[in-house]
Symmetry: C2
Subunit: 299 residues, 2 copies
């Protein structure tokens, strides 16, 4: 049974095409790894890659990518809107098929160790790979950003998981973590009143008392003159799409507002949508792994 | 890109375990073919197998299966509730992945030719493989069953597509056809009034003026003391599950009856359920092939 892992590395370069192309080349250099998607944001000065492949292939490609980033991105000269602390800022790993969370955490540790040993960039483990609670949240690790990292690492609580307590002079420090698949899910409302989207985002997101596995913000979409509840679904197995969608519809009703439509940005596991179909079709005895044809098409 | 075809052969044996085991053995004898499922019905005296694999693998396995059936099932001694005309009664082929309907029709012709050339069993092509309209419907071909086939084949309009105008003395005649994936979809109603299920089945099924790609009957489920609308969805790309489900709910309302639950029997392509999720979640710009992760996991 082929093991499949997803890997989402973020690089602190969103403008220089020469560097971006070198990263793309490295991402495509291993037969057992497939580059699903990559996108660069000039404002953020940042690029996000999405890869899938065998654990060994992903390990190989990540080391190559980090070397390209280290040798081509100088963090002492980097500006951009998005918070960042390294040339390879963060690497997220996600178990996809025939691989457990535990195995993926081990892979993240192997990768972290190699990034320091072979490229001299210190590494912090975050999310499910974190060794203590205050490193679970990437934002806490990254706080202070590249410019303040040298000082931050000297504090005992911020000793890197791999490497000495000092940043790489131009590549900074990299976070490596393991998490469940995340789905970027947006719901557009038939109003331009941002307060309504904001109130609904507050109701559903975990940090303000809503669903633990839901992150949500409100946005005004200028081109459409409507507002959006923009959601990160952090664990679709525990918190299905339909539940969040129906609560948004229900709360919007209070203001006489309807849902215009929803969207998934980028890639989603098919099961996340199948789970919602099963709810709406009242299909209480459906067995995903044995009844969905695609599950037999590859092992 | 690996081509994948599904194959559903039906054999006129549902009791004799020695024969059924020989068929299972033959079904598992080729590396590139996977036996998804098989079930035998004693009342029908019939077994249905579901295989997936490469077109070449399926061709190879089907010939082996037809030989086992020919050598172990004597139609002159066969009784059972289900209509039948041969030891291998019917073989349905379904294009699944990286293969067109046209290629699958060609495969059905290749298989039909080999069944006659190598096993001396005449073959009729049906469904999308049919060479004329009156052979599209399997029931028309099979009318008269094994006992009347020798006479029927002498009529010009029923000359076999492969073979002479006479049945194999013990194995009869086999139908080979190509069709879209079919989904067996049942909806249970919160009533034991069979007339209500019957009225709804009439409304939705194509043969009585409903949806062209829908076959439906009503059933009384004795163990649960409720009625069921039992549906074959013949083309889920044209007629999605949610549309049939919602109309059943809507028509049941007329009688003050609700839908208890629905079920899919056996295997379904994941896309059929994803399509329904997209409707309920109002996800108008979703692209199945580029946004569903599983589509990248195998080529």
């Amino acid at each position: 049974m082929t093991k499949i892992v997803q890997c989402i590395p973020n690089f602190s370069e969103g403008k220089n095409l020469t560097t971006i192309n070198k990263l793309v080349e490295a991402a495509k250099s291993t037969a057992s790894v497939f580059l699903l998607d990559y996108s660069s944001d000039e404002n953020h000065n940042r690029s996000v890659f999405t890869l899938i492949g065998s654990p060994e292939g992903i390990e190989d490609v990540v080391i190559k990518l980090c070397k390209v980033a280290r040798d081509n991105i100088d963090m002492t000269k980097h500006t951009g809107k998005h918070p960042r602390m390294g040339s390879t800022d963060v690497i997220a790993l996600v178990p996809i098929k025939n691989v457990t969370m535990e195995e993926t955490i081990k892979l993240s540790e192997k990768i972290g160790k190699r990034i320091y040993n072979e490229l001299s960039i210190p590494v912090m483990l975050y999310a499910n790979s974190a060794k203590n609670e205050n490193r679970y949240n990437l934002a806490s690790i990254r706080k202070g950003e590249f410019e303040n990292m040298a000082k931050k690492l000297l504090k005992e609580e911020w000793t890197p998981d791999f490497g000495e307590s000092k940043i790489h002079p131009t590549a900074g420090i990299t976070a490596v973590g393991t998490r469940n698949p995340m789905i970027a899910f947006n719901v557009n409302l038939n109003t331009n009143n941002l307060e309504i989207a904001n109130n609904i985002a507050k109701i559903i997101r975990g940090s303000s008392g809503g669903f633990k596995d839901c992150k949500a913000i409100s946005l005004f979409l200028e081109d459409k003159n409507i507002v959006q509840v923009s959601i990160n679904m952090m664990n679709y197995n525990k918190l299905p799409l339909y539940r969040v969608f129906e609560i948004i519809k229900f709360e919007a009703k209070k203001y006489g507002v309807t849902v215009l439509e929803s969207e998934i940005v980028g890639i989603t596991p098919g099961k996340a949508l199948v789970d919602s179909a099963i709810y709406y079709l009242q299909m209480n005895n459906f067995n995903y792994s044995s009844q969905v044809l695609e599950n037999y098409l590859f092992d």
